[in-house]
Amino acid sequence: MVTSLLSTDDLTQARALLEATGLQFETPYDDLVGIFAAGRLVAVGARQGRTLKMLAVAPSHQGGTLLDEVVTELVGRGYQEGVDSFFIFTSPALAPNFETLNFNLLAASGKTALLEYGDGLKRYLTRYTRLIRPGNNGAIVANCNPFTLGHRHLVEQAAAAVDQLFLFVVREERSLFPFVARMRMAQDGTADLPNVTVIDTSWYAVSSITFPTYFLKDGDPGGAIQMELDLLLFAQRIAPHFHVKSRFVGSEPLCGTTAAYNEAMHRILPPLGIEVRETERKNADQQPISASRIRDMLLRGELEGIAELVPVSTLDFLLSSEGIKIWDKGGAK
C-alpha cells in the first residue's frame, strides 16, 4: 500500500533508498509517498507542483508494479489538488519505463528527457490551430513584465520580416505582473499590427517546468540542461505547428541568464531549421530599455521617466487603479 512518508524514520529511509539508486533527496516537495515491505521502504516518489521526482524502487523489488503504484498515488493526489498535467525528468534510457505508464516524451537532450502525463501539449497546440495562417511565420517568447517600447521595437521589426508573428507571453505566475495583465498589455501594445497574434506559452516554453532558472537569479549550473530542453521542445514540437521558421530575440546586455539563453538559441535552433534573429536593444537615455528597469522605477515611485519607456497602452494600464494595485504594494514608499 502506498503511504505518505512523514516521520523522521520514513525520511531517513527515503533518503537512503534514493541515494542507493543514484538519486538525491531534493526538497521542497508537496507530496512524498512510498511503499513498505516488512517494515522496510522499497519504493519512493515525490511531487512538487506539476513535476514528479525522486522516483526510485529498491533493486530487490524492481520488475513489479511498485513504480506504477507510486505514480498512480502521486497523480491521483495531485489531481485532487488541482494539478491537471504532470511532468517527469529522467534519463533518456529510463524514459520507456514511463512511456508504458502513458507518459509522452516531449524532448530529450544528452542526459535528460522530459515526459508529460496526458496529452496537454496536443491540447495546447490544438487550441490555437484556428489562429494559424500557414506561411513564413516567426515567433517571440517574452514575459512582458511589463510590455515596454523595447518589446514593441522587437515586435515591429519581426512583424515586418514574416507573414505572421506569434508573440508568446510567458504563462507562469512568477512575475510582478500577473499573467492576465501581461497578456493584456501585450495585446493592447500590438493591436495596430495586423499580422501579430498574441498567445500564451502554457507550460511548454520558458516555464518553471522547461526553464526554471529563468525565474531565479544568475548562476545555477543546472539551468543549462533545462534551457536546452526548452529550446528542443520549441523547435521540434511548437514551431512546426505554428509554421514558425524564425525566432526573434532582443540582444541582452544586462541579465546573465537571458544572455545565456540567447546564446543557447544560436547554438540549438539553427540546426533544427529555426533561424535566430537577434535585434539590437532599443535605448533610451543611452541605456537599454528593459522591463526590470521599469519595475525598479515603479517600485521606487519614479513615475516621470516611465512614459518614455513604455507604449501609451502600457502606461494607461500602469496608472489605472488595477495597475497601481500591482506595483504599489502597501502604499507608496
Binding site: D68, E69, T72, Y79, Q80, D84, T100, N102, G118, D119
Partner: protein, 87 residues
Amino acid sequence: MKIVKKAQAGTMQSSDLMVFLEPAETLNVTIESTVLKQFGALIRAKVDEMLQKHGIDAGEVRITDRGALDYAIEARLETAIMRGTEG
C-alpha cells in the same frame, strides 16, 4: 446529466486505466492507450456506451489506459461518474 466536479478513478497499473472527469460545457472524450492502435475503437465504443448508460452529456473525460478489459473500463468509469456527479 453533467459532471459537476473533478473526479478520478483507477490506477496506472497494467491491465487497468485511469479516468479523469472534469466539468465542461460540452462532452469531450480523449483516450490515450498503450494499445490504442489495436483496440482504440473498442475502448471508445465501451466508453461511449457507459457515458450513454449514465446519461452524461457534458464534461471533460480523459482516459489513460494500459490494456484494461471491458469490465475494468465499466467499473472505473462507473466509479468516476458516481464521484463526479454526486452532490
